[in-house]
């Protein structure tokens, strides 16, 4: 293979100078990232001055942490915490993590996720199936079934403002038979996802994520920039 390959150089790079047993392990406990302490919040002024977009992230009953948007690539947002954990979010869904004791390494079939659609097309009854891979025991292919069970209009308070939102309620059924409810709040006027509560595995506590920079942008606190 090596010998027959046709090689060429990327000269651009030259400028660089510098079952039961199965279920048992699948439900192992999880050591969480994000430092202990008090809830973190940004003032309007801090939000306006930040270079990178901010995300409020609450993992289970841990304090709220502020994550910064580190990378935007492959239609994914990559948010990092001060303690070097990362949440990779694709159209509002956490599809990968790093820095935790048992990380979501891969989620299959993501193109079928109804959340990939424009907000107006996300409707009750839409379903999809995915398989996930986890780092701790090299476990691969754990099925999760998702179904949107309710869509409603509701208000959401952020930055002392009441946003009219489309609340999408999704039920997820995991490989071990347990279920969880995931919630997604979309700003009705812009379609921006403002907040979500989601459970990515039965052994993960609920993740509560607030896209505070998006809210700030809608209120004119932050300039329009990279989005979604």
């Amino acid at each position: 293979m090596l010998r027959t390959a046709v090689f060429f150089s990327l000269t651009a790079m030259l400028v660089l100078s510098g079952c039961s047993s199965t279920v048992r392990t699948y439900t192992d406990t999880l050591k969480l990232a994000f430092s202990q302490g008090e809830d973190a919040f940004l003032t309007r002024a801090e939000l306006a001055e930040r270079k990178a977009d901010a995300l409020y992230a609450k993992v289970g009953n841990k304090p709220i942490a502020v994550l910064g948007l580190a990378f935007l690539e492959h239609n994914q947002q990559k948010w990092i915490s001060a303690d070097e954990a990362m949440l990779v979010i694709e159209k509002g869904r956490v599809v990968k993590t790093t820095g935790f004791s048992n990380n979501l390494m891969f989620q299959s079939n993501r193109a079928q996720d109804p959340l990939k659609q424009a907000m107006v097309k996300i409707n009750q009854g839409q379903q999809w199936t995915s398989h996930s891979d986890w780092s701790e025991n090299n476990e691969t292919g754990y099925q999760s079934n998702y179904e949107i069970i309710q869509v409603e209009v509701t208000s959401l308070e952020l930055l002392e403002h009441s946003f009219q939102t489309k609340l999408v309620t999704e039920q997820v059924t995991f490989a071990d038979g347990t279920t969880a409810i995931n919630l997604f709040w979309y700003d009705l006027s812009s379609g921006y996802l403002l907040k979500t509560k989601q459970t990515i595995a039965p052994f993960w506590p609920e993740l509560e994520l607030t896209f505070i920079s998006s809210a700030g942008r809608l209120l004119g606190i932050r300039n329009a920039g990279n989005r979604k």
Partner: protein, 251 residues
């Protein structure tokens, strides 16, 4: 105008010089990534991180140092010699089934492409945010293999199949029903060689079974049962494993 030509000449000359003598050269598929100075690991993986569908848990990184490849090839030659002796031993003792299994391993091992595998985290999302996981790469030539998530698991050793489908939510013992084991195959354990981690033993016997998942991109090595091995060949499975770790996996 002459300045433009001069500038072009300088750029082309520098490029050719660096192409000829890069400090670090990394092959990825059919592409060479050349670095004039020692890059960080994050620089290498960022250079090939073209899609969210690349499955980094089964990525592999190899040194293409000719010294190391030569050393591995020498070990392979010695191992092939020993396996041939083992084959002859079985043949002389009328154990045709065991001789055939050994012959199969010889034929399987002979064309194996080897390079020194370097086990370290490769996922760009891991290495670029953690300084401790982002070392400077030593001068030399390397091979980086990463592709979409493999759908199959490679097989090696006392087994007829060369691959089998990667099973969802399963463990090593679940694979046995899909494998056509050859005579002399171990019924109690397998060796698992992950693409980017150290090898480990998976106990799959009825009496010793334990949960070990098979990572995507791994190679399952079905060893010879110890009781079938003459005492002077008791380490043959370990020797095969030591080489198998350095098998170059096709993307």
């Amino acid at each position: 105008m002459i300045y433009r030509f001069l500038l072009l000449f300088i750029v082309v000359s520098c490029s050719l010089t660096l192409q000829a003598n890069p400090v670090v050269r990394v092959q990825f598929n059919d592409v060479f990534l050349d670095y004039a100075q020692q890059p960080r690991l994050s620089d290498l993986v960022a250079g090939v991180n073209t899609s969210a569908n690349l499955y980094w848990p089964s990525a592999s990184f190899y040194s293409l140092s000719s010294t190391e490849i030569h050393s591995l090839e020498q070990k392979k030659a010695k191992l092939l010699q020993r396996l041939t002796e083992l084959h002859n031993y079985y043949a002389q003792h009328g154990d045709e089934g065991l001789a055939a299994t050994t012959k199969k391993i010889v034929l399987e091992l002979t064309p194996l492409q080897l390079a020194k595998k370097i086990v370290l985290p490769l996922d760009p999302d891991t290495v670029r945010i953690k300084t401790s996981l982002n070392p400077l790469i030593d001068a030399g030539q390397y091979l980086l293999v990463v592709a979409e998530k493999p759908a199959t698991v490679a097989l090696f050793g006392a087994v007829e199949n060369s691959s089998t489908l990667l099973l969802n939510a399963s463990e090593a013992a679940d694979y046995l029903s899909d494998l056509k084991l050859l005579e002399g195959a171990s019924a109690s354990f397998l060796y698992v060689v992950p693409a980017n981690a150290d090898p480990f033993i998976a106990k799959v016997g009825l009496w010793n079974r334990e949960f070990k998942a098979i990572p995507a991109g791994a190679t399952l090595f079905v060893p010879l049962e110890l009781r079938h091995l003459p005492s002077e060949f008791e380490d043959i499975n370990q020797q095969i494993l030591d080489l198998l770790v350095h098998k170059v996996v096709a993307p």
